[in-house]
Amino acid sequence: MDFSLNEEQVLLRDSAREFLGEEWPSTELRRMLDAADGAAAAQALWSKMSDLGWPGLLVSEDYDGLGLGMFDLAVLMEETGAALIPGTLHASGLLAVSALETMANEDSCQKYLPDIAEGKLKATAGIYEPGSGWTPMMLAPEAGEVVTKRYVPDAASADLILFVNRTGGNGAQIAIAHEAQIEDIYSMDVTRSLSQVTCSAGQLEVLGEGTIADVQAVVDRATIGLAAELIGGSARVLDMTVEYVKNRKQFGRAVGSFQAVQHKAADMLIGIEKGRTGVYYAAAVADERPDDLARAASVAKATANQTAVSVGELGIQLHGGLGFTWEQDLHLYLKRAKAAEFTYGDTKWHLDRIAHGLGLS
């Protein structure tokens, strides 16, 4: 296996880091969270990301995208996760693009993907329903008069809301939800918008058909992206922690010279290296060996969940009281990690899927 980054990927990573360092420092993030013009901060970032082509990174060149793969996107999403950007890129550039490319008919792709790639159209996709958990087969077997989708990312600012519905048995469809009702729901992760979206069946405009397996594949790709964001965030938490314990002095020495601190920092690094491996592996599988996607995505998510929560907790612990303050950014990473832990399946869900695949249940 070859996990090394090629020249373009190194460039993508380094330029993304530089860009986000300038355009999305903690002060901008805080402006989004606290200030009246919070939405403006998010929109300004989106425009600049669009200039860089990020919303179309996965979109094929046929639809004016960059035509890159999940591995490239994972490299980028480590950086966007490190910077705690809001959810639009994930919702539009990954989830909605994957859903359209996987399930929508040619006309619909022609119609929507170029604008999505350009960032002009912010899209999102609602898949799960109240009570469905994270298992597509648990979606309502056919649409009632009203379809309700839960955990829809970034719907509030989306221009195009897609619904992915089950159509009986293993069938599925993708549709535009016109005149949808959007109700905000709030998670621990205050950096991301989440909604419950309701649409009457008559307002659904079907764009294509597929299978439940297609739905799962769309989510598995989004899962890998989320895992990449978590690992990028974890790496940033470790950087912040290393910086702090190098400089914080107690008992006349840097606290980073105490074994108890050193060994926890070492554990953070071990988790991050392991998690990064899981993400790169799964991203490569998504690009090259889609038959293994489910298991690889579960390996990535299970590992990223464990790493991100543990690194988030340790980061606070090693900052001592300071880490417990709102002012420090650490809690934003922990909350992102803890909220993401439950998104697209928690660790138990993914381990169950792996166990099932191994014939153990």
């Binding site: 969270l33 621990m188 989440l194 709102w326 809690h331 439950f342």
Partner: protein
């Protein structure tokens, strides 16, 4: 020999208390300061506070057993949170141990009645685990000290009338030798308090700033430059008292966990059920360990209980949160008196002080528990205390 049952005297005490609590326990939100003060006064007037304090200062002159029974029954009755815990658990006992007769007469009764709320000013930005590095300066000026500096992580400082303070009186002495303990009126000119917003969105702690604050020398506790020892005694007392109340809090949290999982629509899978059973084992063992080690809890062995509690509570809060399933991280999911709406707003506003459902949610519990292994001595420091002071391992 009966180990599990109360003695006849204890049983009578428990019965009286239980009956009283059943009749008198109100429901008060944790931010309703006036009501919480009134509740403490009611408790005090009924004779249930200061159980182990001498009668001459308003206490009941009883033993540790009665205090333990009070803790158990209070947990059982889910009484409201204590508004003056620093006074009752830290400053009061410290004054009883080292204060002058005058101080005891002056301060202790009003601690019990909640007429005066106390806070404790030990930690500073550069003196956390390494408390002896504290820099808040007290300059000798005739009958007064003039105090300048900053304290941090001061619970209750936003509502406190008095602060139990450690200051540096001799900057030239070795670190541990130039520290003095004082009682300072929080209304003194030059004292300002700034709330310290935490990751939970609450400001349970504050930062206290001293800008040339004049404090009469009569407010000194113990001799000048004797503050380190007094501080250490306060600490062991703090940890002992915390230990006892911790076990009660863990019991309450476990009951809450049980409520949550029993109210689920979907039954727990075997692993989740075992996680809850493990929390039962942990909470049982912690409570009983506090009872078993009661006579050692004023020594360094209180660290054993504190470290164990921090990790048990962190685990328990995580279990509570994780068993909620896909909605786990959503605000207002799974509080034990969940209001069921999703009206919280984005950002810090979501965490407004009066959002009781959030304050009782597992999200809040999970986040708040992150501090358990930091406050009252980090688990790292306390494990070294256990190793060196209890097990006798070499310091270097």
């Amino acid at each position: 020999m009966t180990r599990l049952q109360d003695t006849p005297g204890e049983a009578a005490f428990r019965e009286r208390l239980r009956t009283w609590l059943e009749a008198n326990t109100p429901s008060i939100g944790k931010h309703d300061v006036d009501a919480l003060k009134a509740w403490q006064r009611t408790l005090h007037e009924a004779g249930w506070l200061g159980l182990t304090w001498p009668a001459e200062y308003g206490g009941q002159g009883l033993g540790f057993r009665e205090q333990a029974i009070f803790n158990e029954e209070a947990a059982r009755a889910r009484i409201p949170p204590g508004i003056n815990n620093i006074g009752l658990m830290i400053a009061g006992p410290a004054l009883i141990a080292v204060g002058s007769e005058e101080h005891k007469k002056r301060y202790l009764p009003k601690i019990l009645s909640a007429e005066e709320i106390w806070c404790q000013g030990f930690s500073e930005p550069n003196a956390g685990s390494d408390l002896a590095a504290l820099q808040t300066r007290a300059v000798d000026d005739g009958d007064d000290y003039v105090i300048t500096g900053q304290k941090i992580w001061t619970s209750n400082s936003l509502i406190a009338d008095y602060i139990w303070l450690l200051v540096r009186t001799d900057p030239d002495a070795p670190r541990h030798k130039g520290i003095t303990a004082l009682v300072v009126d929080m209304k003194s000119p030059g004292v300002t308090v700034k709330p310290l917003l935490q990751i939970t969105g609450e400001a349970e702690f504050g930062e206290v700033f001293f800008d040339e604050v004049r404090v009469p020398k009569a407010n000194r506790v113990g001799a000048e430059n004797d503050g380190w020892i007094i501080g250490m005694k306060t600490f062991t007392r703090e940890r002992a008292n915390i230990s006892v109340s911790l076990s009660v809090r863990l019991q309450q949290q476990f009951d809450r966990l049980l409520d949550t999982v029993r109210n689920r629509d979907v039954p727990l899978d075997p692993q989740q059920a075992r996680e809850v059973a493990q929390a039962y084992v942990d909470s049982q063992c912690l409570t009983q360990t506090c009872e078993r080690m009661a006579d050692r809890l004023f020594g360094f062995e209180s660290s054993v209980v504190k470290v164990a509690w921090a990790e048990m509570n962190q685990r328990l809060q995580r279990i509570g949160l994780d068993t909620l399933g896909p909605d786990a991280p959503l605000l207002s999911a799974g509080g034990f008196d969940q209001v069921g709406d999703t009206t919280a707003t984005f950002g810090t506003e979501a965490l407004a002080e009066d959002d009781e459902s959030y304050a009782k949610s597992w999200q809040f519990g999970y986040l708040r528990a992150r501090a358990n292994s930091i406050e009252g001595g980090t688990s790292e420091i306390l494990r070294s205390v256990i190793a060196e002071r209890v097990l006798g391992l070499p310091r270097k």
